[in-house]
């Protein structure tokens, strides 16, 4: 028996080894490099200056703005996604997963292309404004403003909010809802006491999956913000590319990682079973 068990463990290790190698090469090694670069200066001496640099007004401002826009985008995604996921999980339109498929479909297109498309749509002489002008409506001037960035975030990350909520709603046993109704609960009560609490893991997972990419993005803010609006992601990107200061870039990345870890701890407290994960 013990022999059999050991054999099984052995098998697990062999089967898991590609994943293990993947994790080491693409997650562990890069993390070590970020910490290495972040904790030394140009001359190779140990320093905490790159991390403390987050306190500089320029960096603090970019971080605050990124947090703020990330929160707004997450809240908007939640407000749109929850009712939508609920409708999808209840009605028969989605019997064959067709509507959900429609939601995933745009994700097959390149993220950059989709964001560039929004740039063309929102431009002063872009498609949307041409239509508005034709209808004699006032033009929409949100390109190169924070509003355009939030729009880009919501558009790009909405599926990451819909799918985990949808999955957790699907898993609710209809018998529980029927039981609640039998016991005299009205629809509001059922939603409040049964459906929402049971879908919470999906909600938390959705929040994490929208908030983290929104907090760290630099592409959306570059393309839809006209490079006028500096988020913390843009600062880090600039340090690695134009400014060529990998040490400062890594130091700021470490700070950003702290925010991500805090977010993930919160989500793991709520989502102990991991059932909200949509994969």
């Amino acid at each position: 028996m013990a022999n059999l068990l050991r054999k099984k463990e052995n098998n697990t290790f062999i089967i898991g080894s590609p994943y293990f190698i993947w994790v080491v090469i693409f997650i562990v090694v890069p993390l070590i490099m970020i910490f290495y670069y972040g904790l030394i200066d140009r001359n190779g001496n140990f320093t905490l200056e790159n991390i403390a640099a987050i306190a500089q007004p320029v960096h603090l401002k970019a971080l605050r703005l990124a947090l703020w826009l990330g929160v707004i985008a997450t809240v908007i995604c939640l407000i749109i996604a929850y009712p939508l996921a609920y409708i999808l999980s209840q009605t028969s339109i989605n019997r064959y997963g067709f509507v959900v498929f429609l939601f995933i479909l745009p994700m097959w297109m390149n993220f950059l292309l989709r964001t560039l498309a929004w740039q063309t749509l929102l431009e002063k002489t872009g498609v949307i404004n041409n239509i508005l002008v034709f209808l004699r409506l006032p033009p929409l001037n949100i390109i190169n403003t924070p509003a355009a960035i939030v729009l880009g975030m919501v558009y790009n990350f909405l599926p990451f909010m819909v799918l985990p909520i949808y999955n957790s709603l699907l898993k609710i046993d209809p018998n529980i809802i029927n039981a609640a109704r039998d016991l005299g609960a009205n629809s509001v009560k059922v939603l409040q006491k049964i459906i929402f609490p049971l879908s919470l893991p999906g909600v938390i997972s959705g929040i994490t999956m929208v908030f983290i990419p929104a907090l760290t993005t630099f592409v959306i803010s570059n393309l839809l913000g006209g490079s006028k609006i500096l988020l913390i992601g843009n600062v880090i990107e600039e340090e690695f590319t134009h400014a060529g200061n990998w040490h400062l870039g890594s130091g700021l990345s470490i700070v950003l990682m702290l925010f991500i870890i805090v977010n993930m701890i919160i989500s793991s407290i709520f989502d102990k079973t991991g059932e909200g994960n949509f994969l």
């Binding site: 970019a62 002489t125 006028k228 600062v235 200061n245």
Partner: protein
């Protein structure tokens, strides 16, 4: 039922395998009989047919990559993780590469076309950043100026100051690169574009901050398309785009502002660690051949220093165009960027960050 299940799995597996095969087929590839040359050039800075001709005539395979700014290119070369043989940086970046010992001397005996067809004045001007004149071969040159839409502006456009006028609010495109943005503000205030004087730089920074609410966007390559599309009235742009943009939108005109500007040269250089230095020289020599230089000029419309190629341009209006080939002696305040040292880079970057986050 069970069979159906397996059939489904099999189809998925086949798809996955096909996808994998497709992926791996893309990489690798075969070198030509004479090996390869790895080129790292500006985006849209060559006629793609030229590369095909080069491969056909020399049997050297070209692996071709592009960058958007000098600053993006530098860390890749510095880190040594890339294997580029030939680069095409601008003047000040060549100086920076040289000072960091990242370039290799060119054996001009293997690049006979360079001295034969490229005007001596361009080599002379190159001495400013390549003091021995042995590391670089000029490829393109030009200035930086204002591209404006005649239908959208009022009054003459001849000064950087128009970029600070309220009436063009949300209709101004600035360059999203440190040196070019500062150049505009420094020149506006009558300073050198290579200024290292902290007071002058702070004045320039404050000017750029004051300008920011009027700026529609900070962009690089997109200036061209946005100006063609009538998205903005004024844009800071390299002179090489002037001919092309006017072909696409006849309302567009280019001007070198009276306060002066940057005159730049982009030159071919060979990296210190080049694995194929001989092929690199063959490549540079090919680029200097008049018919090839002419093809490149006609494709990207950036001014060529290749005098023979210029004399072959058929349309006299372009051959003697004031825009494509300005007589530099007619302009005031022209300067070429110099590398300002690590300290200068850091100072400029810090101030630029302050502007961007304002």
């Amino acid at each position: 039922m069970k069979n159906k299940f397996y059939a489904k799995k099999l189809i998925v597996l086949l798809f996955a395998l096909a996808f994998f095969a497709f992926l791996t087929a893309g990489c690798g590839g075969k070198d030509g009989p004479n090996g390869r040359v790895v080129v790292y050039n500006w985006g849209e800075y060559i006629d793609p047919d030229v590369l095909k001709m080069f491969e056909k005539e020399t049997g050297i395979r070209v692996i071709y990559d592009e960058y958007e700014t000098n600053e993006i290119m530098f860390p890749k070369i510095e880190s040594g993780s890339s294997n580029y043989d030939v680069l095409c940086p601008s003047d000040y970046m060549i100086q920076k590469l040289l000072e960091n010992d990242l370039l290799r001397e060119i054996n001009f005996a293997n690049v006979p076309n360079a001295k034969e067809h490229i005007g001596a004045e361009y080599f002379e001007r190159s001495l400013e950043f390549d003091p021995t004149g042995t590391y670089s071969v000029p490829y393109k040159w030009g200035t930086v100026g204002i591209l404006y839409n005649e239908a959208m502006v009022s009054g003459p456009i001849d000064s950087w100051a128009v970029l600070w006028e309220e009436q063009y609010s949300d209709s101004i495109l600035m360059q999203d690169s440190v040196r070019d943005a500062f150049m505009v503000a420094l020149k506006l205030n009558g300073f050198s574009l290579n200024s290292m004087d902290e007071n002058e730089l702070l004045i320039a920074r404050d000017a750029l901050i004051a300008q920011k609410p009027l700026v529609q966007a900070y962009v690089i390559d997109q200036v061209r398309d946005k100006m063609i599309g009538g998205e903005a009235a004024l844009g800071v742009i390299y002179s090489g785009e002037a001919l092309y943009t006017r072909q696409e939108n006849p309302d567009l005109a280019f001007v070198i502002p009276k306060e002066g500007t940057n005159v730049w040269i982009d030159s071919w250089v060979i990296t210190k660690n080049a694995a194929n230095p001989d092929n690199a020289e063959t490549f540079i020599n090919f680029m200097c051949r008049p018919d090839i230089a002419l093809m490149n000029f006609e494709y990207i419309t950036y001014s060529t220093p290749n005098d023979t190629a210029r004399s072959m341009i058929e349309d006299p209006e372009i051959r003697y165009s004031e825009v494509a080939f300005p007589n530099l002696a007619d302009f005031y305040g022209l300067e070429t960027y110099r590398f300002l040292g690590a300290e200068g880079d850091e100072l400029y970057n810090q101030l630029w960050k302050e502007i961007k986050s304002w």
